[in-house]
């Protein structure tokens, strides 16, 4: 042993320069580290005696950071070894920290920390939406996917650009200009249409004929349309022609959307993109073999937007969900919303809260069925709604220039502007307005107007003042096009398209003149962008731009009030959704389909409710400025009826998410035990403590585990119920190499074993093989269950610091007690998201300062956001 230590010291001394040899680490490492981490022992693959201090080397730097962190946290030396005196530990970590910061700062002296990056797809779409006041234009689906680095897509490391991107940007710009520019002198006629769910071509009529729905009048079966029984209705076309579905009857539906049923209100297929008012009247009932009775409670229906594709029969799955709406028992309730609809989009419907039942192939069909139904009296759709014409999108481009009819005979030297023919897919009964001829923007002084219009547009699009030279280059493009015979509109389109495809628009750029000045502060306009792309995922509005231009934006009071304004604006929901989508991986909510035999109660309504809970909860934490312990534990949850039933919490009625106080012993509330997180961290069939533990360590505690060593197969949980995952992991953990990491990440995962793959609380594993008969519990009586109850769940564990917990509630208490750690991680996640780069070693002190200031001011999450925006870290490149 002595010989080994002597050799190690010799190697160490040889390996160090003279100045380094004087460092205090030698004695410390020799006394406390080399026994396990010298050339002979080399535990964990680390030979500290040979590890030179070559911090300019990235790998070397990372290794020393790890050494620093292990000593600082007390993880090393291991607990079983004698503890080094605190002063020695402090000295060596101080020295290491200073060395690392110095090295990092030296290396980054000439670098810009946050690289120039392009907009993400979501940022691009939102920027266009806000620039042109077209709040629902769909663009990001046609752009190539973004990469991700350090947990988020807002990072230059991940946002490359290729010829594919550029081609798509050109297409997108053309699409935007097609929609933005007015081509008729009057706004399209507002059409109002009342549509029955059994509308022609909309699938539902067919299932009603066969007993999966009924027609109702005055909340009783329609006397002219008997429900299908032993006989079904024949010949759908004959019923449509004779008007069975056009007599004002209400449609009562028992069947859920499935592979062969997609209920649509297909009689409106959008021709003119824009805002539409949608109203519907819903109620629920209990169907009892031909009788309409009060329902079991308030049911929920889903309205969605469906994009028709191909020949108009496509679509199937909703493009996006408009919302879930209550259908109270025997009481028609009207719901109204205004939404943007794109070309060939229509409204879809689903009986969201009903179990998937089908009567069409059962004896007696509807007349033998007893169960819940959702009734749709009608759906009204009105639009497109324009409060001004030409629309604002047009005015952004052409101001108040008049629209005139283009008469080729009068302008023989000018090419007429091109117009795209709009093709309406599907069976829409709304019709385009008769053409009023070819209309276009006219200008008496094209170049003067071009200069004026571009002087107004370019700064808005580029999010900063634009030099005269740049503007003139765009005007020159217009001039060039006019000279070759383009109309004024077409010539201006060239300039606008070029602007929308230029780096000034596509990239978030800082003013070059300010780089390197004022300790790397971003210029005022870039700072305005940093704020707006953080909270709105979009361009700054006029007020932010004005404040940036006047140089007042950084004034602490102004910055604080602007941060508040941005957070209170409805556009901040984009931040909630985008940040949570990445931080807590909510974007992956649908990446697994729970096994239908094991989890038959899972459906899209439950999944959407899960996501809604997490978003609403985060919004509540910010709005009420709750502290970071709420990330893992809370006395309230944000629930609707669907989730409340899933969680076993009584007294919640309806589809809307609201704040619900939790019983004292309820583990729900924090992110840790929300069904969305529990689903994301499972594979759809089984749970494993390993990915769940890794998620908690990485996303909530800010201590990402080491990646698994190569060639180690994943543990496959046993769904037959013979062996629990804990038993399998115990075997795995007997390997010392595995044990060191698993000791950290398994305990949180063990605690979360109390929840199944869809976030249901469990005391026994579900099994599709061996086991006892399972009670139905809160599962809808119309859902068949075939799973069994397997081995009991053990949710106890021991943390690395040897604190033990017997269940998930105790685990929550242990984790919540360290709210500083939770807050620090959240600060880091916010910072990475906000400034578009990873947090480096030298950023730790600024982060610590943000956390300390937050704690000094109550520790709330809204306070943390303010501290971040006020910080040097946020305001510098």
């Amino acid at each position: 042993m002595i010989v080994r230590v002597l050799i190690a010291v010799f190697v160490l001394l040889v390996g160090l320069s003279k100045s380094e040899a004087d460092e205090p680490r030698q004695a410390f490492f020799q006394a406390h580290c080399f026994e396990c981490h010298d050339a002979n022992a080399k535990q964990g693959g680390l030979d500290l005696s040979a590890l030179k201090l070559e911090l300019a080397n990235d790998d070397n730097f990372a290794r020393w950071v790890k050494v620093h962190d292990r000593i600082k946290s007390g993880e090393m030396p291991p607990k079983k070894q004698p503890r080094p005196p605190a002063t020695e530990t402090a000295a060596v970590t101080k020295w290491l920290k200073e060395s690392l910061i110095k090295a990092e700062q030296t290396q980054m002296a000439d670098e810009v920390r946050t690289g120039v990056r392009r907009l993400t797809r979501a940022e691009y779409e939102n920027t266009i939406r806000d620039l042109f006041d077209m709040p629902g234009i769909a663009l990001q689906g046609n752009l190539p996917g973004d990469g991700s680095a350090h947990g988020f897509d807002k990072n230059s490391d991940a946002l490359d650009i290729s010829h594919v991107n550029m081609a798509k940007y050109v297409e997108a710009a053309d699409h935007v200009l097609d929609l933005a520019i007015a081509t008729q002198p009057k706004a399209p006629t507002v059409q109002t249409r009342r549509i029955s769910l059994a509308n022609s071509g909309g699938f539902v009529a067919h299932v009603i004929l066969n007993g999966d729905g009924v027609l109702l009048k005055n909340k009783q079966p329609d006397p002219e349309f008997p429900p299908a029984g032993d006989q079904h209705h024949i010949d759908e076309g004959a019923h449509e022609r004779i008007g069975s579905f056009r007599n004002g009857a209400t449609v009562g539906l028992f069947r859920h959307e499935d592979e062969s049923l997609s209920p649509y209100f297909i009689e409106h297929v959008t021709i003119y993109p824009g805002r539409y008012r949608v109203r519907t009247s819903l109620w629920s009932f209990q169907w009892d073999k031909g009788k309409v009775l009060p329902s079991r409670g308030t049911e929920a229906a889903r309205l969605s937007v469906v994009q028709l594709t191909g020949d108009g029969r496509g679509g199937q799955h909703p493009s996006y969900v408009l919302g879930y709406f209550d259908a109270p028992s025997m009481d028609s309730r009207e719901h109204e919303l205004v939404t943007w609809l794109n070309h060939n989009e229509l409204i879809g419907f689903n009986t969201a809260s009903l179990a998937p039942v089908a009567n069409y192939n059962r004896k007696g069909r509807a007349m033998a069925f007893t169960g819940p139904g959702i009734a749709v009296d009608w759906l009204d759709i009105e639009g497109p709604l324009h409060d001004v014409w030409p629309p604002r999108s047009h005015r952004v481009l052409f101001g108040d220039l008049p629209l005139d009819e283009f008469k080729p005979a009068e302008k023989s030297s000018v090419r007429a502007p091109q117009r795209k023919q709009v093709r309406q897919l599907g069976a829409g009964r709304n019709r385009p307005d008769p053409s009023q001829g070819l209309w276009t923007v006219s200008s008496e002084q094209p170049l003067v107007d071009a200069d004026r219009l571009l002087a107004s547009f370019l700064p808005k699009a580029f999010r900063r003042p634009v030099n005269d030279d740049v503007r003139r280059a765009y005007v020159a493009k217009v001039d060039e096009r006019l000279k070759v015979g383009d109309s004024f509109e077409t010539a201006m389109r060239w300039a606008y398209r070029a602007a929308l495809c230029s780096p000034d628009f596509l990239y978030l750029v800082a003013d070059a003149a300010s780089i390197g000045t004022d300790v790397g502060r971003v210029d005022d306009h870039a700072f305005a962008c940093r704020l707006s792309y953080l909270f709105w995922n979009s361009k700054p509005d006029d007020r932010l731009t004005e404040l940036a231009a006047s140089g007042k934006l950084r004034t602490p009071g102004v910055l604080r009030s602007e941060t508040e304004r941005l957070l209170k604006d409805s556009k901040s929901q984009r931040f909630i959704e985008d940040f949570l989508g990445q931080w807590l991986k909510l974007r992956q909510i649908a990446s697994t389909d729970p096994d239908r035999k094991l989890y038959p109660e899972f459906n899209p309504y439950l999944q959407d409710s899960m996501v809604a809970e997490t978003r609403a909860y985060f919004r509540e934490l910010i709005d009420k400025d709750f502290d970071a312990s709420h990330l893992v534990r809370s006395k309230f949850a944000m629930l609707n009826e669907k989730l409340a039933v899933h969680y076993g919490i009584p007294g919640v009625v309806g589809s809307q998410i609201r704040r619900v106080d939790l019983p004292a012993d309820c583990p729900r509330g924090g992110f840790l035990t929300q069904a969305s997180i529990l689903k994301i961290t499972a594979n759809g069939t089984t749970t494993s403590p390993v990915p769940r533990g890794a998620f908690v360590m990485d996303r909530l505690l800010g201590q990402p585990p080491e990646p698994p060593p190569p060639n180690i197969p994943a543990i496959e949980p046993d769904v037959r119920g013979a062996k629990t995952i804990r038993e399998q992991l115990d075997k795995h953990r007997t390997d010392a190499v595995c044990a060191s990491c698993h000791a950290k990440m398994d305990p949180p995962g063990f605690a979360l074993e109390a929840f199944d793959v869809i976030g249901g609380l469990r005391t026994r594993y579900r099994s599709i093989g061996d086991g006892d008969a399972a009670p139905r519990g809160s599962i809808d009586p119309f859902i068949g269950i075939s799973f069994k109850l397997g081995p009991p769940v053990d949710a106890s564990g021991v943390l690395l610091d040897e604190r033990s917990f017997k269940d998930v509630t105790e685990f929550q208490t242990l984790i919540a007690a360290d709210s500083g750690r939770l807050l620090k991680n959240l600060a880091q996640q916010f910072a990475i998201y906000a400034i578009g780069r990873d947090i480096s070693f030298s950023d730790r002190d600024p982060i610590a300062a943000i956390v300390a200031n937050t704690q000094k001011n109550g520790g709330g999450i809204r306070t943390l956001i303010h501290e971040l925006t006020q910080s040097q870290l946020f305001q510098t490149r």
Partner: protein, 189 residues
């Protein structure tokens, strides 16, 4: 010379007046005379009300009477006015198009039967199904256009489909086959 021209002119005028008055009288006489057609889609007595409702939307035609037993109806209309430029043999076809359009293809017109009723056979087929106008239309549609079918009715309430047929062209088996193909359940099944 001047007088001769004047006499000629007055003769032409008189002749024109007579011609115009004759034409007007002929047209009035024709317009007033009801025109009878066979009606398709009149498969049950409650369809009479539907037919009347349909013609309320067609003011250029006056529905004078309905003969359900023979699936016929009488109308007053001016063919020259409602179907300008149509040849006489095209009138029924044009009327059929108008009526089908107005009734969403549930009623139609066809020429009156050429065979006397005593040469036709009434076939009655017992059926089971829902008391629903749409289903009846479906059953009726299955058979009324078959060659040899002169007239048909369908009523699931009464549980029967009837067809007045030319027995030389069609028989019961063909009718039953057509009904079954449409999804109609025969009572014997």
């Amino acid at each position: 010379m001047k007088n001769r021209n004047r006499n000629n002119l007055s003769r032409v005028v008189r002749w024109l007046v007579v011609l115009i008055l004759s034409l007007a009288a002929w047209r009035t006489a024709n317009a007033a005379e009801p025109i009878k057609h066979q009606i398709t889609g009149l498969f049950s007595t409650d369809r009479e009300a539907d037919l009347r409702a349909t013609f309320k939307e067609l003011p250029e035609f006056k529905l004078v009477s309905i003969d359900f037993k023979n699936a016929e109806a009488s109308f007053e209309y001016d063919p020259a006015k409602v179907f300008p430029n149509a040849k006489p043999e095209q009138i029924v076809e044009r009327f059929e198009n108008v009526l089908r359009q107005a009734s969403r293809h549930t009623f139609g017109i066809k020429p009156l039967r050429s065979l006397p009723k005593d040469k036709l056979t009434l076939i009655e087929i017992p059926v089971v199904g829902l008391d629903c106008k749409g289903c009846c239309l479906g059953a009726y549609d299955a058979i009324y256009k078959l060659p040899g079918v002169e007239m048909a009715t369908a009523s699931f309430k009464e549980g029967r489909v009837t067809a007045l047929v030319n027995p030389e062209k069609i028989d019961r088996v063909e009718l039953e086959t057509a009904l079954k193909q449409r999804g109609v359940q025969l009572k014997t099944e």
